[in-house]
Symmetry: C2
DNA sequence: GCCTCGTTTTGGATTGATCCAAATATGAGA
DNA sequence: TCTCATATTTGGATCAATCCAAAACGAGGC
């Protein structure tokens, strides 16, 4: 006791080597093991001991070494998150939802932006294995080999797929009912009197695309419009919306309404209409998907199938926590229900308003 | 050699305990140390040895254990990134820029969303210390105590501030010249004939706010307009823009132009004008800051001071790499030059176009 | 006073890599 | 063939925690 009082005195000049459990133990007059138990909030430790140890921890300015702990323990309280486009505000909101849950659970997460490259994604996943994360939240890149799931299972690595999924059930998944969302959009348009309804976007074969296309197909058939126009496949960017709608509007018969794969496309499509001197709502109704915050700020405000990204993020993170706590448990699919957020991009507009839209015929995505 | 050929044979049923350097060493007939050198791509190892070891690594399905490595090594190839609103597309783009550089450098990053809470930020930073990250990219939360920098220095933790900074130089920082950006905006408006120019937004006392206000102040004075209207302080959200401009337009004298703290505010402000039956550009010119992708998609397309978030992210990450490689080096400030992206939100509009904007008087941020 | 039984505490082994100083191998020149 | 410098390789110590079986402690009951 008296013997160890000098070395760990107040602030050491450079604190070159860090304070360890051993130092705390010496200072508090207990063993290394006991200190470890205190740190992990074990109920085994007597209250009096606990407070004494905690005081020593504070006094010596101890810093827990997670690397060392991870070497022996089974958990790292660490997660890997993969999205394919973090610059898309949809994913921003989703990541915020994930972060809010993880923060409560004392987890931290590695984030990677795969840019929809399976190779880049694979590299990150391998790195996550090296880091020994407790689990993954994965929004698989386009073209990801479904064998990836088997691989992860072989790694013994819990993985919750988000938004898109690959492979065959059972797997853990959190997302939204895209099929229902598109059905709501089609039904809404039909109720407004539309028949020539096109679905714009999605070429890659992943679940989120298939579900949307399926929803479109089913809803159109249910409305007896099965053979009227159809799906235009392509990338799902702003630019694709901008260009895609311009092509569509030059075809015969022209669609009277377009449902877009996501809001970015829809916003691009509205700009594309302007470029042609056409008016969103009047000349062609537009519906987007996601209901990102920007949707309310366009002119006209965009009607969109709200998919609640923040909630999806929360649900995914919670599911991951459950799976980590119980690795053998039954796989779960958490499917949120989308809701059509009606704004004004399907409203017809009085003819005398056209001039305004036509004022910016040379608007492009770049200027 | 023959002795160790059985245990690490092909796939073990459950691979319960992992393959270690020791196993590789035995398989390749070298020592643990040599394998370690191969893993770290040391030039010391002979080519023939290297290939043999690499073959063994592949054959046994070895997985590098970063936790164990971190225990001894000085680097973890890990970084902490803190932003205050990941749902803001500006930060999405910035994080994408960070990620692209880190990926090239073989780094991975922990991401946290502080939600502008200094407590939450502090908790994350402490966690990062426990994880022994090599450095931090920090966009400090509003109200962060400048002593934080001293604290981090005491921790011996390299930290690059991004976009905002606290404390006093020298420190590492990557951002943009907000002051110049606002000056560009003011000059542009004055050239268009505006005199009653208001700056909208920013109440907290951080560098990015001060710089903007300073830029506004200087530019207005340089133009001889120093006492004409001024700065309206407040939060910097979409909603604040929406509400702020409505208040402004009911005052006398009314401003003829508003420069907004960021694009979200500017987009909200344009919606606010509509709500009043006013026309952006005609009744009041609007300029935003950031030039997020959405800026091009509004109607009218928003004129904005482009701050290039992706590049800022890249520069910040590169600076962090430099600082980690050379902790004692001179602190650096990387200041990018903003550029005014002129679109149409300052154009006057023919009167007969008004009807269209007035069609959506009840538009709000929620619907 | 001794014996349980439950509560606390403990030491030694273990985790899987890196560091470092020293040992060994290799090759050129004398 | 020997020497010396250079190129490779190595074993032991070390990093800082957790796990686990066993020991110490303390309170009641007989």
């Amino acid at each position: 006791m008296a013997e160890s009082s000098e070395p760990p005195s107040s602030p050491r000049e450079s604190a070159r080597q860090s304070v360890t459990l051993q130092d705390i133990a010496a200072h508090a007059g207990v063993s290394r093991s006991t200190v470890s138990l205190v740190l992990r909030e074990s109920p085994l430790v007597a209250d009096s001991t606990r407070t004494r140890v905690q005081a020593s921890i504070k006094a010596l300015g101890y810093v827990y070494n997670r690397g060392a702990a991870a070497l022996r323990a089974s958990h790292t309280f660490t997660l890997g998150v993969v999205v394919y486009d973090i610059a898309n505000p949809f994913f921003g909101a989703m990541v915020a939802g994930i972060d809010s849950v993880l923060h409560r659970e004392n987890y931290v997460s590695f984030l990677a932006n795969s840019e929809d490259s399976p190779e880049r994604q694979q590299r990150f996943l391998e790195r996550m294995r090296e880091q020994r994360v407790d689990g993954l939240l994965l929004c698989p890149a386009e073209g990801t080999d479904p064998a990836l799931l088997t691989q992860l299972m072989g790694w013994n690595m819990p993985c919750v797929q988000v938004l898109r999924h690959i492979g065959t059930p059972p797997f853990d998944y959190a997302g939204t009912d895209f099929e229902l969302g598109v059905r709501q959009a089609v039904d809404h348009l039909v109720a407004l009197g539309h028949r020539r309804i096109v679905f714009l976007g999605g070429e890659a074969e992943h679940s989120a695309t298939r579900a949307r296309h399926q929803g479109y197909h089913d809803a159109m058939h249910a409305q007896g419009l099965g053979e009227v126009l159809g799906i235009v496949r392509g990338p799902v960017t702003r630019r694709a919306g901008f260009e895609g709608i311009q092509t569509l509007m030059q075809e015969t018969p022209r669609p009277t309404a377009v449902i877009c794969h996501n809001d970015l496309m829809a916003l691009g499509a509205m700009l594309g209409l302007q470029r042609l001197g056409l008016i969103p709502g009047e000349d062609c109704a537009i519906i987007g998907t996601d209901d990102i915050e920007e949707a309310a700020l366009s002119l006209p405000p965009l009607t969109s199938v709200a998919t609640h990204p923040f909630s999806i993020g929360e649900e995914a993170a919670r599911l991951a926590m459950r799976r980590i706590a119980n690795p053998g448990g039954a796989r779960e699919q958490v499917i949120l229900t989308p809701r059509l957020q009606v704004r004004h991009s399907c409203d017809p507009i009085p003819a005398h308003g056209e001039a305004l839209y036509r004022r910016y015929p040379h608007a492009t995505l770049d200027a």
